[in-house]
Symmetry: D2
Subunit: 342 residues, 4 copies
């Protein structure tokens, strides 16, 4: 797969490096408006052409696929241009700045028979997949609730809120694990440093299955926290990707002591072993790029599908609507319903 990479800021060079290491892919061109960014890549990887013109890139017949790592506001315009030129497209998360934009991209990809894949890297994390398997296999039982904190000191974005910056991570994971969209979202936020740009948000979600979830996001915190607790009826899991033991499974729970007399609430507490399963050390980004290649080559559906990417955008939009409504719970448009309308 011959790839052109657009956007060589913080994340783009990581994508170039991972594509370069992949036997299945070949980075043939990079595109950025800053000459120094182009030079850094061209000087490091032999045979890569540089250009400051997206048009040049997308009209280059040797380019089969375009990887986009630019600010969110440009995703729609760049991805659409690439799709219309017949290129497969990978776009960094979030897929687009609105679900309407996302739908237009999905339609364009469908019409062109092209792959459109959003960069939800966490779906390629071995830890996230291990927990997904635990949920799917029923080992955790019914999922009662999830609680997650993704906070750190920095790095403040000046073009998007902490919700657009960080929530796509947690929302894509929740979507991937629960395989359902939330029915309602309610959120509180504050722009502590720059009043008009929320840098802390507390988001409550309710799902059709009965599961509830809380997502705490912040660029202002005493320390880094990446902690997700998943509480099921059979077992509980704590996921912390900053830990040496990123997945911990607690064989703990509460059960009616005597099922027949459940109404009397004689409860029994069970506290069993705690297991930290070995987690593969594979870099998620490498697996993600490989999934993109495979989708292009074989026409398979990537784990991070465009539809999932749009669902994530819908969840973020719902947070914004709740914030605009002073924290009122708002419904989240479901994937199917919206697709029907189009």
């Amino acid at each position: 797969m011959r790839v052109g990479v657009v956007g060589l800021g913080y994340w783009g060079p990581n994508l170039v490096r991972n594509l370069h290491q992949l036997p299945e892919a070949d980075v043939v061109a990079v595109c950025d408006t800053r000459p120094a960014a182009l030079d850094a890549i061209i000087g490091r990887y032999a045979g890569v052409r540089g250009t400051d013109s997206l048009d040049a890139l997308v009209s280059d017949d040797s380019v089969e696929a375009v990887v986009i790592a630019t600010p969110v506001s440009t995703h729609h315009r760049l991805a659409l241009a690439a799709l219309l030129a017949g290129k497969h497209v990978f776009v960094e998360k979030p897929l687009a700045a609105s679900s309407l934009e996302a739908t237009e991209l999905i339609e364009a990809a469908r019409r062109g028979g092209l792959v459109l894949m959003p960069g939800h890297t966490f779906l390629y994390s071995p830890s996230v997949n291990l927990i997904r398997d635990l949920i799917r296999s029923g080992d955790l039982g019914e999922i009662y609730f999830l609680s997650t904190s993704r906070v750190n000191l920095g790095l403040h974005q000046t073009d998007v809120s902490v919700v657009w910056d960080l929530a796509p991570h947690d929302f894509s994971i929740l979507h991937y694990w629960l395989e359902e969209m939330p029915t309602t979202v309610a959120a509180v936020s504050r722009g502590c440093i720059i009043p008009e740009i929320p840098d802390v948000a507390f988001i409550n979600l309710a799902f059709p299955s009965g599961a509830v979830a809380h997502v705490e996001l912040s660029w202002l915190a005493p320390g880094k926290l990446r902690r997700t607790a998943v509480v099921g009826s059979e077992k509980m899991v704590v996921y912390d990707d900053t830990s040496n033991e990123p997945v911990r499974i607690f064989d703990s729970g509460v059960m009616p002591r005597n099922p027949e007399t459940f109404g009397e609430y004689q409860l029994s507490y069970r506290t069993g072993d705690v297991v930290s399963p070995r987690v593969e050390a594979t870099e998620p980004l490498a697996l993600e790029m490989l999934d993109f290649c495979t989708a292009v080559r074989l026409g398979s559906q990537p784990a991070a599908s465009a539809e999932l990417g749009r669902d994530v955008v819908r969840m973020v939009e719902a947070v914004d609507r709740s914030l605009a409504a002073a924290g009122a719970p708002v419904p989240v448009a479901v994937s199917g319903a919206v697709a029907d309308v189009l």
Copy 2:
């Protein structure tokens, strides 16, 4: 101060022990309907009379003050009987099962010139007071937000929700630190084990000062968490009363790099020392009982005032209203306004 203690379940004996150790107090009588509970106390402390009749206790002239540690639903009846009999009253948290009940107790105490004190023990925690001093002195700067988790596996109550059980702790602390009532409260909960009794709740609060807060409560969790982060414009604090270092002060923050050009959002991140100040090891319960004695003797206002206790009940009621309204943000009646009406 000669005290009668009503209710010898889990908490009552702790109160008896602390009162017994206090030179200022004398436990003269205990009241419970279970003979074994009475015998255990009488056998251990010489000179304590036991009775199964509240009437006997409150009509006993040798009793000056009554300490109540019974289920919430009985607080109003028992406390009112004691106040009408001219006794000073200490009631375990929450003060009453509704703010209306709380107001009736406050009025009865005011009419009788008696002390009415709710048992918000955390207001006597040296850690909580150390953080209060940091806030009051301005060391933390403007309080941007607070995030707190109070979760554990168990112990499910069967008469009240996790909100009525645990939120009074966090709400009393927030009230004590911020010295303001929230304007609105929005919450999500679920009864995972017993459907009609919420055992997990995610509560968002917004305060007049601009501060926002999140409170996570649960009886279902992989492990015990007691963690409160307070993020101010100058410093941040983490309070964890299960830690050897219960208070940690982070000299960290974000500032505009160049105040004149604030509009351009050139931000500067500051990460300085982290200090765990020494915290006195005094038992909060002993300080609480002493404050009750002092209030009775000197007519002083206890840190845990009846008005604060009623405000806490109002916050819990607001959570229940939000839950009944499917998570909608609801206003919290402010202390003054309601008092005016009465």
Copy 3:
């Protein structure tokens, strides 16, 4: 079993409490020279007689067994008096102030057909027994080495060194786990606060099986550490009795990649699951007292046998000899050899 308890300082009252809760035992008398210590016990437990005379206690026909919790220097005298009076004896660790004293006690017990049991409480810890089972079953493979730290700020003893105070814990555990005596011991120590009383010691031990061990002991430390690593050829274990997960089993190790070419040292590193097995929460002291009762009633050998107690004293003596020899490794007299001589 009717018991008399001698010594009501810090530890004695704990023994009284545990014996009192045991259906198999009955505390009939306590002995101490301090009237206040006697009164505290007599006032709390009905039917217990107090005396300041050991003679009175050991000549009391209603006393079957004597439990001794006095300073080490008095163990030999008190235990011998009790044994000679025909009483079964439990002595707090260490069994005696020298192995010669210990041997005299063992002989006296043997002649009288009496139980003599040293108070090595850790041998009744569910965690210690869980690890013993892992070792005995071969799950850990060959034991390569152990490393243990038992440090804290305080409490300085003024009559014995940190070695006599703390090493009996670790030495009894090592003896119980490895079921062998060390061949040599070498140690370094320092009396930091009181020059003549070592308050920090670093002890190296070598065992006949090839296992080596390090024991770090100190009353001077920034914080409390209770950490023992056991490294076996198949698995590794960390034991920390201050943790919520006191036993952690690491399925990790190093193996020759190709056994035939072992000589070329192609090594393969294995890092598997980490498991924190559930550990029973039973109080070791209760199990210890029960084992003493059972030994008295049935004539069974307690897990903490007098011979093990003497072996522990021999290990401590060897440390003292190494310290006196400027840290030279010294042999540890083996149990059998010494017994043969007697």
Copy 4:
């Protein structure tokens, strides 16, 4: 400073990268016998010549200084060749395979007026220097003892023991902090995986000042530990370079309650604040390379002096002698005395 780098295994490329980033230095040539290793560097850094001949490198007039990152057994031969050719030399730790070799290198450097610097990177760690300042300023008081653990699962060396591999780190730090050589060293070790190559060692050290130290080293451990406790009469410090808070200062200690009656050992325990000072995030390797450049340019003494490097080798040799003597304490030759002899 124009530099040639010899040895492009694991560490050499890191040195090339750091030298490349340093304005003061210019990597002009690299030397390795493996063509692939040479190609990797030449392909990455423009203007770097590759050679497989040390003779070619040291006879290259454009090379002023040689940086050596090869196995220990080759240090002496390579460094001596470079020094005799008039080049300044930086050698990775340990300086040489014996103190005799180290002395020959020191003599050769002295005769040639050249810089000879061993690669003790930890001496350039901001944390290590912060603690050194605390010791030098007297803030910690008298240094009572140090206890350090440097253990991990892997990476087994097949040419040197864990002592030669890891002890130079801790020994250089101890030398740098205490500014004295130990008088005696006593050690126990075991070759668990490869019998003739010790992979675990417990080392006790005694210093002229009265300080004692323990150093635990292992390639076999359940997890990574990098923990050093420094216990002083005024304060205590824990250094853990794997932590977000690598230096923690405990204002704790024990003091005679009443100095006049010190003989009676009335002790008072002090537990004050714990402070984690902010530590600069500078990469030690960059500071180390800069110090080498400065020494070459200005003739200054680097913090990691050749004499310190030889002292470290003497300490490691003493460990080997103690191991050969079954753990007996052995004296460590002091720097001055040996220098006098030469």
